[in-house]
C-alpha cells in the first residue's frame, strides 16, 4: 500500500542543481534510510516525496498513481519534522486530532484513534498538556502520534532524533523500529548519522551531492561498499584508507581496511607503526597507529579491552586480506 517510485526526478533551485536525474524504488512496508553528509540533498529528496517542494522534472508515483503534481495532503503521507513542528497553542490531544479534523473524521473515531495512539506512545497522561510543557522525547512522540492517526501510506521522518540527547535517541530509535514492525507501513527516514542508518534500515540509500552512491541492506553496504565514499561513510569508526606504495602491492590505487579487521601484535606483523592516542570504551579500545610509510593519516585499530601498549610504543599490524577493500583511481571498488 505504500510503494513509492521516483523516475528520473530532478530538482534545481535557480541555477543550482541539487538533485540530478535520480531513480529509486521504495517497496511497500520497507524501512528505507536516506543517509549522507549534510547538504547532500537527502532532506530535499524527502520533501520532494512529501510534496513540500515541486520536482523540476521527472515523476513520482505512489502506489502506481502519478503523484508528481498532487498537493501534499492528498499523497497520503505523514511527516515527522526535525523540529517536531507541533502546534504550540493546541493541547497534545488537539495536535494529534488536527489532521483528522482537517480530513473530517467523525468525533468518536477521532477519539478512538487518539486513545490508541496515546496508549501506544505512552502519552495518555499528557493529552491535555501543551507542547511547551513536554520534554523533547515526549514532543517527539506527539509528532509521531500526529502522524500515526492519519493511517498514512508511508511515514516520512526528517532527522527526527537529532534534537534529542544521546540516551533518549537510542530509546526513540528502538521505539520507531518497534512501531515499524507493528504497523508494517513504509517508512522513509532521513539522517546524517550512519549508526541510525545501520541499526534501523531495511535498505540504506547513501547520497552524495544529490547522487545515489549505493543502495543496499546495511550489511551489503558494510561488506561491499561500491566506492571509497560509501566505504568511509558506513561503519564506525570509519574505514582506514591507505594509498601509495602499500596500496600498489595489492594492485590498487587505494585500499580500505576497517579498524575491526586488523590484527595487532607487539612482535611481528605485515605493517609496523607507532602507537598514538588510544580511546578506551571499556569493551573495545580504539588505538590510533601512525603506520610507517603509510601516509600521515593514523590508522585506527580496534582491539579488545586491554592491550599492553603505551603511547610511542612500536606495534605490528596485520590486515585480514579477506576483508580488505581495493579501489581504483576513480575510487570505485575493484
Amino acid at each position: 500500500m505504500g510503494r513509492i517510485t521516483l523516475d528520473q526526478v530532478t530538482k534545481s533551485f535557480g541555477e543550482v542543481n541539487v538533485i540530478p536525474p535520480l531513480d529509486l524504488t521504495i517497496e511497500d512496508g520497507e524501512f528505507v534510510v536516506f543517509v549522507g553528509p549534510s547538504g547532500c540533498g537527502k532532506s530535499t529528496l524527502l520533501r520532494l516525496i512529501a510534496g513540500l517542494e515541486d520536482v523540476s522534472s521527472g515523476q513520482i508515483r505512489i502506489d502506481g498513481a502519478d503523484a508528481t503534481d498532487m498537493p501534499p495532503a492528498r499523497r497520503g503521507l505523514a511527516m515527522v519534522f526535525q523540529s517536531y513542528a507541533l502546534y504550540p497553542h493546541m493541547s497534545v490531544r488537539k495536535n494529534i486530532a488536527f489532521p483528522m479534523k482537517m480530513a473530517g473524521v467523525p468525533e468518536d473515531e477521532q477519539k478512538r484513534r487518539i486513545d490508541s495512539a496515546a496508549k501506544a506512545l505512552n502519552l495518555t497522561d499528557y493529552l491535555d498538556r501543551r507542547p511547551g510543557q513536554l520534554s523533547g522525547g515526549q514532543r517527539q512522540r506527539v509528532a509521531i502520534g500526529r502522524a500515526i492517526v492519519r493511517e498514512p501510506q508511508a511515514f516520512l521522518f526528517d532527522e527526527p532524533l537529532s534534537n534529542l540527547d544521546a540516551a533518549l535517541r537510542v530509546n526513540m530509535r528502538l521505539e520507531i523500529m518497534e512501531l515499524h514492525k507493528s504497523l508494517a507501513t513504509t517508512m522513509i527516514y532521513v539522517t546524517h548519522d550512519q549508526v541510525e542508518a545501520m541499526t534501523m534500515a531495511d535498505k540504506i540509500v547513501v547520497l552524495r551531492a544529490g547522487n545515489i552512491e549505493q543502495v543496499g541492506s546495511p550489511l551489503e553496504l558494510y561488506r561491499e561498499p561500491r566506492n571509497e565514499f560509501v566505504a568511509s561513510f558506513i561503519g564506525s569508526p570509519k574505514m582506514n584508507l591507505i594509498r601509495g606504495e602499500v596500496a600498489r602491492t595489492y594492485g590498487a590505487q587505494s585500499i580500505g581496511i576497517r579498524p575491526e579487521h586488523i590484527a595487532v601484535s607487539t612482535d611481528e606483523g605485515l605493517w609496523h607503526g607507532t602507537v598514538g592516542v588510544a580511546e578506551h570504551l571499556g569493551s573495545d579500545t580504539f588505538v590510533h597507529v601512525h603506520g610507517h610509510g603509510m601516509g600521515s593519516e593514523p590508522l585506527t585499530v580496534r582491539v579488545d579491552g586491554e592491550l599492553p601498549v603505551r603511547h610511542g610504543d612500536r606495534i605490528f599490524l596485520t590486515p585480514d586480506t579477506e576483508k580488505l577493500h581495493r579501489f581504483d583511481a576513480q575510487g570505485l571498488r575493484l
Binding site: P72, A73, P99
Partner: protein, 290 residues
Amino acid sequence: MATQHSRAAARLMISPAVLLLLGWMIVPLSMTLYFSFLRYNLLMPGMEEFTGWTNYRFFLTDPAFFAALTNTLLLVGGVLLITVIGGTLLALLLDQPFWGQGIVRIMVIAPFFVMPTVSALVWKNMFMNPVNGLFGHAAHWLGLEPYDFLSQAPLMSIIGIVSWQWLPFATLILLTALQSLDQEQLEAAEMDGAGAVQRFGYIMLPHLARAITVVILIQTIFLLSIFAEILVTTNGGPGTASTNLTYLIYMQSLLQFDVGGGSAGGVIAIILANIVAIFLMRMIGKNLDA
C-alpha cells in the same frame, strides 16, 4: 550578584531616577486634581476659590461630554479595527517573496514617520478638499458630485487619516511576528491537510495573537489622546461631530478659559482611560503571559 549589599546599592543607585519619574507624574497630577476643585477662569485672574464638585457636575452634564465620549470610543475602536485587520492582511502580503521586497517594506513604514499635523493637513488639503483634492478630481472625472469628507463625514474622515498613520505600525509588528513563525509548522499543517484559509485560522492567527495584543494595547494608549489631527482638520466640528475627550478638554480650558472645568475633564479622562485599560487587560491581557 544579588547579595544583600549589592541589592541595597542597586536601590540607592536607581532611586534618583525613580524619584524624578515619580515627581514628573505626581506634580502635574496633583495640580490637575487641585485645579479641578477650583473655580479657575483665566478671564478672572485672582478670583480662584474652592467650589467642590461643581466643575465635575458641569463637565459631566455638558451634552458635549457624551458626544465626545462616544466619539472617542468610535475613534479608538474604528482605528483599531482598520489597523489590525488591514495590518494583518498587509503583513500576509509582505511576507510573500517578491521582487523589490526590501524597498516596498520600507515604503510601507513611511507614513509612520510623517508627523500627525502634516499628514492631517496633507489629507485635508490635497485629498479630501472637494475643490482641490484628488478625491474631488476623481469624483469629477467619474462624473460624480465631489464629496466633502470633513464636513459630511468628519469622524469617519479622521478615523481614515489616523488609520493611515497607524497602519504601518500594526503592519510592522505583525509582519515581524509572522516572520518568526516556524515554517515547519505551516508545512506540517499543509501535510495534515489544512488549506490556506485553515492554515491562517489554526496556525497563523494563534501565533499572531500576542502581537495583535501588543498592537491593540499600544495603539489604544495613543489613540485615546488623538488631538493634532482634529485640530488641523475639523476643529472638532461641525458642532461636536468630531470632538473627542482630549479636544473637549482643550476647548474647555483654552478656548473657554475655564481651567477648573478643563482639569475636571482631565481627571475624568484619566479615570476613563484606566477603565478602558483594565477592560483591555482583562479581555486580552491573558495572551501576554503564557
